[in-house]
């Protein structure tokens, strides 16, 4: 979706103002810690996947997305998914009072502290084996297809319609557009190099290039 999250190339956002590296805490407030921990802990119930989480944060009014701090967007996404998947009702969320326990099968999968190190060490690999042959190989010229799906996608607006060169093949990875709809399907994934001038025209920085990982569905062959 063409949401406020798709920020590459946006103007007017001002300076970055980084905090000095040695002085920045991992979390700035107690509530940030809880929002972080709750997101990961509830995520471990596997009622949704990473692309559903991203899409839940993206599906906010653009003004809200940009105004809120990072962990406020995490909170908004979590509340949305809890209600949409039925883990919590809208009434429960509004009142803060449970009208009943969660389903037993769900409660049995609750993340326990002793499992946290294993969960962190295992991660969630996105690589998949698929039957089709990759359509492109390193060195091929490709165009990022000009497409504007209303659902989740990982093809940023700033590459759409632009020509790049396949830099490498990553194997088949879970396809985000379908994963956000709950379907875990693999597609060939490529690292594509775009010369800055191909993306930004006369406003490009000289001598720079942007590498973007793009799934095969986002790409078409480009004429020489």
């Amino acid at each position: 979706m063409n949401g406020a999250h798709d920020l590459g190339g946006m103007h007017g956002l001002g300076r970055i103002n980084p905090e000095p590296e040695g002085e920045e805490p991992v979390f700035h407030t107690e509530w940030e810690k809880r929002v972080f921990g709750l997101n990961v802990a509830v995520g471990a119930l596997r009622k949704w996947n990473v692309d559903m989480v991203r899409h839940a944060r993206e599906r906010q009014h653009p003004v809200d997305y940009l105004r809120q701090t990072y962990y406020e967007n995490w909170l908004a996404g979590l509340e949305k998914l809890l209600v949409e998947t039925g883990l919590v009702t809208a009434v429960e969320l509004a009142t803060g009072k449970a009208t009943g326990p969660a389903h037993e099968e769900t409660r049995n999968r609750v993340l326990k502290a002793e499992y946290v190190p294993t969960m962190v060490a295992k991660g969630v690999p996105a690589r998949m084996e698929i039957d089709t042959v990759p359509r492109f190989k390193p060195g091929d010229r490709v165009r990022a297809i000009n497409r504007h799906p209303v659902g989740h996608t990982r093809e940023p607006r700033y590459v759409r319609g632009c020509i790049g060169v396949i830099n490498e093949y990553h194997g088949a990875h879970v396809f985000p557009d379908r994963n956000a709809q709950g379907a875990r399907e693999g597609r060939h994934l490529y690292g594509v190099r775009f010369e800055a001038s191909s993306l930004w025209g006369e406003n490009a920085n000289k001598g720079s290039a942007v590498y973007v990982d793009l799934w095969e569905d986002y790409l078409e062959p480009a004429e020489e």
Partner: protein, 209 residues
């Protein structure tokens, strides 16, 4: 809009936001969906256990051991796993090397993808709208804001983390560090250098030479 998360004076009453989060947590606990001890363990993991010192050790080893460096550049996932830093947000790793002619910098324009397994959780600026907007369109201007000025003869490569592949920059080894141990070298490797917005520290920065 510049996002600086504001800090609370602890004499203030809890904000509406804090109350909303407390209510959500107690609801989730009451429903049996969350064990608060697991939430605490997750916070502790990323506050105290997993952070940029992991990545610094990887870089220091690559600077010291040419065979490890080759492995790291060819198959970063396996090379980093051999040091025990794989896992969540490090399942698929790619390391990109800075050379006298190439400087690499990492961003996630669409959200905040970042190699947690080697760098921990990202700093606020990495997740901020101005960094995400500008790193791809004006990397030289962004680097300047970090005090990093590179000649136009140095190519800048920006890596936008749109997939589950996570990027780590291998900074150039600073001059004057011949014979240093891996532990000494690791002290020169900053988080920002591994994101690519800065270069590694020099021995002088550490008060040596």
């Amino acid at each position: 809009m510049v996002k600086i998360e504001h800090r609370h004076d602890h004499t203030e009453p809890p904000s509406e936001l804090e109350l909303r989060i407390k209510a959500l947590e107690s609801l989730l606990v009451e429903k049996g969906l969350v064990d608060p001890a697991a939430v605490n363990a997750l916070i502790d993991t990323y506050e105290n256990r997993v952070g940029p010192r992991n990545g610094a050790k990887v870089v220091a080893r690559a600077w010291s051991d040419p065979a490890f460096k080759r492995w790291l550049l060819e198959d970063a996932t396996a090379a980093i796993d051999s040091m025990g830093y794989s896992g969540r947000h490090g399942e698929h790793m790619k390391v990109v090397e800075n050379t006298p002619k190439i400087h690499n910098v990492v961003v996630c324009t669409l959200c905040s993808c970042y190699p947690w397994a080697v760098l921990g959780l990202p700093p606020v600026w990495y997740k901020s709208a101005p960094y995400r907007a500008r790193a791809v369109a004006d990397p030289r201007g962004v680097l300047k804001e970090f005090g990093t000025e590179l000649g136009e003869d140095i190519e800048i490569r920006v890596w936008d983390s749109t997939s589950e592949v996570r990027f780590l920059v291998l900074p150039a080894r600073p001059e004057g560090t011949e014979g240093w141990s891996e532990e000494e070298l690791a002290a020169l490797v900053t988080r920002n250098a591994m994101i690519g917005v800065e270069t590694a520290k020099s021995p002088k920065d550490l008060g040596r030479n």
